[in-house]
């Protein structure tokens, strides 16, 4: 790799890290919550943020869209959150999974862990393809169906994904709550132990398998993946400029065959492939009406 080329890759990595840090700081900007061990109670909490960011986090200024969907589904007499779904459809149609690559705080945590210089694990192709479907099952079963279908005597359900799976909730909400509040510490039992162990497993796996949660488990990633193919923000590989060097595929944290799968739902639009491409074959664009004409996928 030439010096100029290496600089471009470093510049891109630094830019993306700055955007990710800024997004995490803005979404969790209520510093008094961290200091005092309580959560923000202002009106902005009625607004869903476009990424997985737990509203039980002491700093959170908005609501998690996945939590919001489950809250409405689990409530009396309603089974579907039009509001959260509508906001996510708007965000998905505009940006697709660019939001995963640049704005998601839990994505940032995984990216930072992936920087630990240990040899990365390549998931076998067939297992990788199969496991990708898991996140769609999580979205349909744990976020949409179970909170509405399994209800108690009072007619309310539970946020199944938040309660039993979400590692972002444990990291951003559970751990600070338990550390800052002695009463909650006493209440932490089997469920907290399960969620803590699961979070730890996902974080440890993230060191060896970059973005493992985004690849296989994130229901929000699954939702945005449905829009990635036609979102206004899109990426393409020029077949006339591509020299099939394989650098883009080697750099991809989602283990994609970039020239073939750049338009798939799995691409988080992190732009690493674009930065490493020696011939400028990978391009990105944002438009509602216009598309680059030449592409391979």
């Amino acid at each position: 790799m030439s010096g100029m080329h290496r600089d471009r890759v470093k510049r891109h990595d630094r830019f993306r890290l700055c955007v990710q840090l800024l997004a995490a700081a803005v979404l969790n900007g209520y510093a008094a919550g961290f200091a005092g061990g309580h959560i923000f109670t202002g009106k902005t909490k009625a607004v869903c943020v476009p990424v997985l960011n737990c509203y039980a986090c002491p700093g959170a200024l908005g609501a998690c869209p996945i939590g919001a969907m489950q809250t409405v589904a689990a409530g009396n007499g309603r089974s579907f959150s039009f509001y959260a779904l509508g906001l996510l459809m708007l965000c998905g149609t505009l940006f697709g999974r660019l939001l995963c690559g640049f704005l998601c705080p839990f994505g940032l945590v995984q990216d930072l862990l992936a920087k630990i210089p240990l040899k990365k694990l390549t998931v076998p192709h067939s297992a990788d393809r199969l496991l990708r479907y898991l996140k769609y099952a999580v979205l349909i079963i744990m976020v949409l169906l179970l909170p509405a279908a399994v209800q108690n005597a009072l007619g309310t359900g539970e946020p199944w994904f938040c309660k039993y799976l979400c590692p972002a909730g444990t990291l951003e909400g559970g751990i600070p709550a338990v550390l800052l509040n002695p009463a909650l510490r006493k209440l932490a039992g089997v469920l907290f132990t399960w969620k803590f162990a699961l979070m730890l497993a996902i974080l440890i796996l993230s060191v060896k398998i970059p973005r493992v949660f985004c690849r296989y488990l994130c229901p929000l990633g699954a939702f945005y993946a449905l829009f990635n193919r036609f979102a206004c923000f899109h990426m393409q590989v020029s077949s006339s400029k591509c020299i099939s060097c394989g650098k883009c595929t080697a750099a991809c944290p989602m283990q994609l065959d970039v020239p073939q799968e750049i338009c798939s739902g799995e691409c988080i639009r992190c732009g690493k492939c674009k930065a490493v491409c020696p011939t400028g074959a990978v391009a990105s664009d944002f438009s509602v009406l216009r598309d680059q004409t030449e592409h391979t996928s």
Binding site: A56, A63, G67, V72, P159, T170, A177
Partner: protein, 46 residues
Amino acid sequence: MKRKHILRFFGLLCGAALTVLGVLRGEPDTILQKAVKLCLECIGIG
């Protein structure tokens, strides 16, 4: 290409319509009520 444009317009239109419908149903209030209290289930305690 045309299909992509149609899907984009459909996505934006549906997204906006569903958001307005949700607001009219009072969903932001439901979400606010949940989000301003510490959700014990979400943090793995309740």
